[in-house]
Structure formats: structure tokens, C-alpha cells
């Protein structure tokens, strides 16, 4: 044994299992909740592209290179927190909206 090993406390991450069998249904529902969010955003993105296209604006390149302002970053944070909360709710086996 190396000298340092007696002082080391390291879990066996390969053997670690965090979720138990009784949480599998909740995990499945969380995936569905997440997929719903992905769909909602996909729908919105397609709507946005159609709306812009109808006004003659091609914003694809601008979107790719966009740098959020501090204010916009806060809005992104809030949206992201809401998304994460919805997944966490489902993972705990509770109803989601």
C-alpha cells in the first residue's frame, strides 16, 4: 500500500448506485417531462423561424454568434432554474406542470 493510501477516502464510483429500483418510474417520468420541454422549445424555435422568415429576416448567423447581456443572462438563469425544478419535481414522483 502506498504511504498516502491510508489517508485517502475515496468512494468506488464505478460500483456506486444512487437511484434505487423504486425510483425508476420517477426517472422515466422525468425523462418524459424533459422531452416535453424539449418539444415546447422545438415548437417555439420553429415558430420563431417562420415568423422571422415571413418578415424577411434571416437571423441564423446572428443567433449562432449572439453574446447575452447581463440582463438577458439573468432571464436565461431564471428559465433554466424553472426547467431544472420541473425535472426535480418529477424525479421525486410528484405532479408536474
Amino acid at each position: 500500500m502506498a504511504d498516502y493510501a491510508q489517508y485517502a477516502v475515496a468512494g468506488d464510483s464505478k460500483a456506486r448506485r444512487i437511484l434505487t429500483v423504486d425510483q425508476l418510474d420517477a426517472l422515466g417520468e422525468a425523462i418524459l417531462a424533459l422531452t416535453s420541454e424539449v418539444w415546447i422549445l422545438t415548437d417555439r424555435q420553429m415558430v420563431l423561424e417562420e415568423v422571422l422568415k415571413s418578415t424577411g429576416l434571416d437571423v441564423t448567423a446572428a443567433v449562432d454568434m449572439f453574446v447575452p447581456s447581463a440582463e438577458f443572462e439573468k432571464r436565461l438563469d431564471a428559465k433554466r432554474d424553472k426547467l431544472i425544478a420541473s425535472i426535480m419535481t418529477a424525479l421525486q414522483g410528484q405532479s408536474i406542470a
Binding site: 422515466g28 417520468e29 416535453s36 418539444w39 415548437d43 408536474i96 406542470a97
Partner: protein, 350 residues
């Protein structure tokens, strides 16, 4: 009433729910095909529905498709009400004033602060509606418009509104003057009755004030003078012989057999001699292919339909005759093999 206009998020979320429902149905079809191709399909399925479920699950219960459809359905059952309510809340500021503007008009809603709903209704979350039918102030709109028109209409085979018109048109006469609808809810079947019998005075009752509030707005949006009241179908409080037609659509499977018998007795009482009764509901399990009956039973068991099994096992024709009706007919009028909707009809002698 104008089709609901939702914000993008609510619209997309409800569409996703409908898509999940359709996907679950396809997976179940795959499972049923697997069962029918198995040696087990050569033997008759047990009559007892719990035993039938064991027999079917022994063949398909471990299929990934079976487990996934259960997961999809469970998630949708758990979340659909909350999703629809959230979709409404996104546009509440726009829609609520439009709905409230329809509170005044020729249709009326009788309210009774002392009314106590029966325990079977007050203590059951039908359709897994969190908090029950009256959980939010505009639940009639949320369920009658958003869920029915934007979700269920996409998921269920056939035109669910044409089914209501077909039932109304199955009544034997066109000259009814006084019609009583039992379980009027948010007014979908009331519209069909109104379209079929434009000269009749229509009274609709239900146990849910929120649903009837929306039915009143629907009636007012059409300029019709529906009389709506919060009353129980098995104890309407109306005078003897006060209606020419008593009708319902998809009410019986929400009721236990003793209550259905009481409803038929009440319908007989309030009908004038010579009046007609026409009640439509889900198909009888005994008249469905056994595997289809099993599927419906599972949908009911996990879908917040606690009385569906007992109700669908009832001989409605016998119950109607026992209540005093004559010229009783009972059977599906839709496409085979399911033939939904199932229509029970009869006449009060006289």
C-alpha cells in the same frame, strides 16, 4: 364557442400530451398483436377481469412496449390536468374577461349553497383530475375546452363531438318540448341536443358547479336559454312527469350500478307518460372482443375511472326494464368491433 387560443408554451405542452397518449395507444396495439399471435390466444380468456389481466400479463407483461405504454399513460394521467391548467394560466388575463362577459345571457344556472354532493362524487378524483372537477375557478373551460378540444379530440378515434350528435339523433322523436340532460358537464352533449331539438326547452344538471358555469357560458355564446342546475341525476328534485325526453352521454360509467339503477328510476319518474329515455355510454364489456375489454378495463383502472368496470358489466337493458321502461333497446351505434357509443333507449308507457 370559439376554439381556444393558447400561448405557445401551453399549446405545445398540450400537443405533447396528446402525442404521448397516441404513442401509448400504438404501443398497446403492438402488445395486443403480440398476445394474439401467441399460443395463449388459442384459449378463451377468463371471464373474471382480474384473472384476465393475469392471463394477458403473463404473455405481454414483460414486453418493453407494455412497460413503456404504462409509463407514458401514467405520466400523462398524472400531469395532464396540471398542464392544461398551466396553459390556461398563461392566457388567463386575456381569456377570463372574455368568459366572464358570457356570464350574462339567456342561459341560467341555479345555485344552491346548501347542496351537498353525494360522497361517491365528492370523494373521487375522476379522470385523475387533481382536486376534482371544481379545483380551479375556470375548470369548466380548462376541461371542457382545453382538454376535450385540444387533447382528447386528437387522442380518441372518431369524432367525439359527432358521437354526441349521433346519440341525440338516435332519439325516436323530433317534437320534444322539455328535455332533461343528466350529467351535462360543460355542455358538449347539450349542444348536440340543442342542435337536434332546436324548439325544445333544455334543462341540464350536473354535480359540478364549475362545469355548469362553463356550460352556461357556452349556452350564452350560442344565444340559447338552457336552464342549468347543480343537482344529482339520481335525485333531481323535479316534479313527476315534467319532461318529454331524459338523456345523458358518458355519465353511467362514472356511477356505480346502484346509482345507475336509481338514475333510471328517477328518469322514469320525471318523464311524462309516453316520454323517452336515451342514455349513452361506453360499450358493455361482454359485447367487446375479450382483449379489447381487458384494455378498456386497464385504461379505466389507471385512468381515474373507478366505476367503469362495474358499470360496463351491467345489463343496462334489464336495468331499464326493471325501472319500468318499455320498448327498450340497447347496443352500440358506432363502428365495429367497439361500436362506441353504446345507446340505451326506452319509453315510459302511456
Amino acid at each position: 364557442m370559439e376554439s381556444p387560443k393558447l400561448a405557445q408554451r401551453g399549446r405545445a405542452a398540450i400537443n405533447f400530451q396528446a402525442g404521448i397518449g397516441i404513442a401509448a395507444g400504438r404501443l398497446m396495439n403492438e402488445c395486443e398483436r403480440t398476445f394474439l399471435a401467441s399460443p395463449a390466444a388459442n384459449a378463451p380468456l377468463p371471464e373474471d377481469l382480474d384473472e384476465r389481466h393475469e392471463a394477458v400479463s403473463a404473455v405481454i407483461g414483460d414486453m418493453p412496449a407494455y412497460k413503456l405504454q404504462a409509463l407514458l399513460s401514467e405520466w400523462r394521467g398524472r400531469s395532464h390536468g396540471a398542464v392544461a391548467l398551466a396553459a390556461f394560466e398563461d392566457v388567463r388575463e386575456t381569456i377570463a374577461p372574455q368568459l366572464q362577459a358570457l356570464d350574462d345571457g339567456p342561459s341560467t344556472l341555479e345555485s344552491d349553497a346548501d347542496f351537498t354532493p353525494p360522497a361517491y362524487w365528492a370523494e373521487t378524483e375522476f379522470h385523475r383530475t387533481a382536486g376534482g372537477w371544481d379545483a380551479s375557478d375556470f375548470n369548466g373551460y380548462v376541461h371542457g375546452e382545453l382538454l376535450h378540444k385540444l387533447m382528447l379530440a386528437k387522442m380518441f378515434s372518431g369524432d367525439i363531438f359527432a358521437q354526441r350528435r349521433a346519440v341525440a339523433q338516435a332519439a325516436p322523436r323530433r317534437d320534444y318540448k322539455r328535455i332533461l340532460e343528466l350529467g351535462a358537464s360543460s355542455g358538449h352533449f347539450t349542444i348536440a341536443l340543442d342542435e337536434t331539438f332546436p324548439e325544445a326547452e333544455i334543462t341540464g344538471i350536473d354535480l359540478s358547479p364549475r362545469m355548469l358555469e362553463h356550460a352556461k357560458r357556452v349556452g350564452n355564446s350560442r344565444g340559447t336559454d338552457w336552464r342549468l342546475a347543480v343537482r344529482a341525476a339520481e335525485d333531481t328534485g323535479f316534479a313527476d312527469a315534467s319532461f318529454d325526453l331524459v338523456a345523458s352521454f358518458n355519465l353511467f360509467h362514472e356511477l356505480s350500478p346502484p346509482v345507475i339503477e336509481a338514475v333510471l328510476a328517477e328518469a322514469f319518474r320525471v318523464l311524462a307518460p309516453g316520454g323517452d329515455m336515451i342514455m349513452s355510454d361506453v360499450p358493455r364489456f361482454a359485447e367487446l372482443p375479450p382483449l379489447t375489454a381487458w384494455r378498456f378495463d386497464q385504461i379505466a383502472k389507471w385512468g381515474g375511472e373507478p366505476f367503469w368496470r362495474a358499470s360496463a358489466c351491467m345489463d343496462l337493458g334489464a336495468a331499464a326494464r326493471a325501472a319500468g321502461f318499455v320498448d327498450v333497446t340497447a347496443g352500440g351505434i358506432g363502428a365495429a368491433p367497439i361500436r362506441h357509443p353504446y345507446v340505451l333507449a326506452g319509453r315510459k308507457p302511456g
